[in-house]
Symmetry: C2
Subunit: 288 residues, 2 copies
Amino acid sequence: MLYLIGLGLGDVTDITFKGLQIVRKVDKVFLESYTSILCANRDKTDLEKFYGREVIVADRETVETEAELILDEAVNKDVAMLVVGDPFGATTHTDLILRAVQKNIPYKVIHNASIMNAIGCCGLQLYSFGETVSIPFWTDSWKPESFFEKIVNNIKNNLHTLCLLGAFIFTLFNVLDSRFSPDIKVKEKSIEALMKGKQVYEKPRFMTVDIAAKQILEIIEQRNQENDYLCSQSLAVGLARVGADDQKIKYCSLLEMSETDIGPPLHCLIIPSRTLHPLEEEMLKLFR
Amino acid sequence: MLYLIGLGLGDVTDITFKGLQIVRKVDKVFLESYTSILCANRDKTDLEKFYGREVIVADRETVETEAELILDEAVNKDVAMLVVGDPFGATTHTDLILRAVQKNIPYKVIHNASIMNAIGCCGLQLYSFGETVSIPFWTDSWKPESFFEKIVNNIKNNLHTLCLLGAFIFTLFNVLDSRFSPDIKVKEKSIEALMKGKQVYEKPRFMTVDIAAKQILEIIEQRNQENDYLCSQSLAVGLARVGADDQKIKYCSLLEMSETDIGPPLHCLIIPSRTLHPLEEEMLKLFR
């Protein structure tokens, strides 16, 4: 049996009681490395202490390329894979389920909160959100703008946009790369290693709301689209560490957001629709 | 202190460990009555047994009209309000938070899975969903169609649509009414009571995927829009009891869906976009 267990967004105690019972009884527990990178307060050691058992870190390479090893265990044993947020937040886990089904391994999903529903904490209604976008880090030569069209399209439909601001791990080639190791600092490699053809990692960079706002403002300026659907005075919601004790929410103009520091990762940004429900408006005022 | 605690979607054990710790230590625990109606396996008695303490059912009238009583308790005591899914699934809770803030009562939200993110279980990617719609029960004289335009608009934007199929409580006037009691059967009132001006309740009716599909097909037929964006052969995903042990997912045409029984409530329906990601397609095939 393969269990995919969501850990939620805060700390180790955000696992569900059901999930915890499973973790304590299965034969092996794997932790997807994203979790250990994305959540400072939920690394392998914290989890092992809380569960009272060993947790094996499966880095993304393991999950994708060596999923077979995990699934081989699941044929005759009970195996749990721990995932930050909800198990269906990343396609990696859909892939793991499909492989399990192919091997006739039964699977069970233990859901939890994810950023996709926890953003309701700012007061904006979840059913008034349009398509979610990801805002990537720009480089000097790589400035994709497709997310901008999607935001504008949502505004035209009077819908809010959740902008996910991910953690990106760059190799020394400065190419976006989703392959990374569970402990970046330890596994960080040198140019020397690179020359030998090995994978090279830099420390992860986390996109913050100020950078995201700056990139949006740059597109607005280039297109001379001020006063259209989005302008520097358009209001946005910046959220940091949603679901954690030190969660922070800020509601201000894009211009102000571009100069705002809401602390450590993870961040996300919301561009609300132009017309708000009175309750949405009142809630957002709390974060002005 | 006011705690708003999400109970998730399955049974009593879907509360988070953090939520459970709070429930066990606070002075008073209220249960929003929606929860006891919507989730057969999480009524007051089950919860009290699991928590080892008293749980007070606060029906929707209490939460909305008499929120003051709950908040008065929260001024000097620690009070928890239990909510099915995630606390930000309903505007009622936003309203409760706003009132708490006005009274300088600190609040804390314990997130959990809600239908808004747990629908990922069918394999469709959450960030490819457009605006969420609600499909209401039609009567002979009341057949709102606004949800249809929204579905078509999402399809045009190549986005999936989550159609929420709620539980509706009708008064004897047959008017949609969100006011209801925690135990419908006990509180069900007679025409006699109605004549005295009291609120009257019928048993809750739950919208099912077959009825939702029928209503969509009726609109398609009326508008003669076959072969346009939506037709009777368009594929849809019907989901029942998401997150529970007896969860059921069915992927078939709208026509087949209109003749499908996927069991007890709650149901929801998804109209996928016309172009699917290969992983989405592969996952959906599991439910054909």
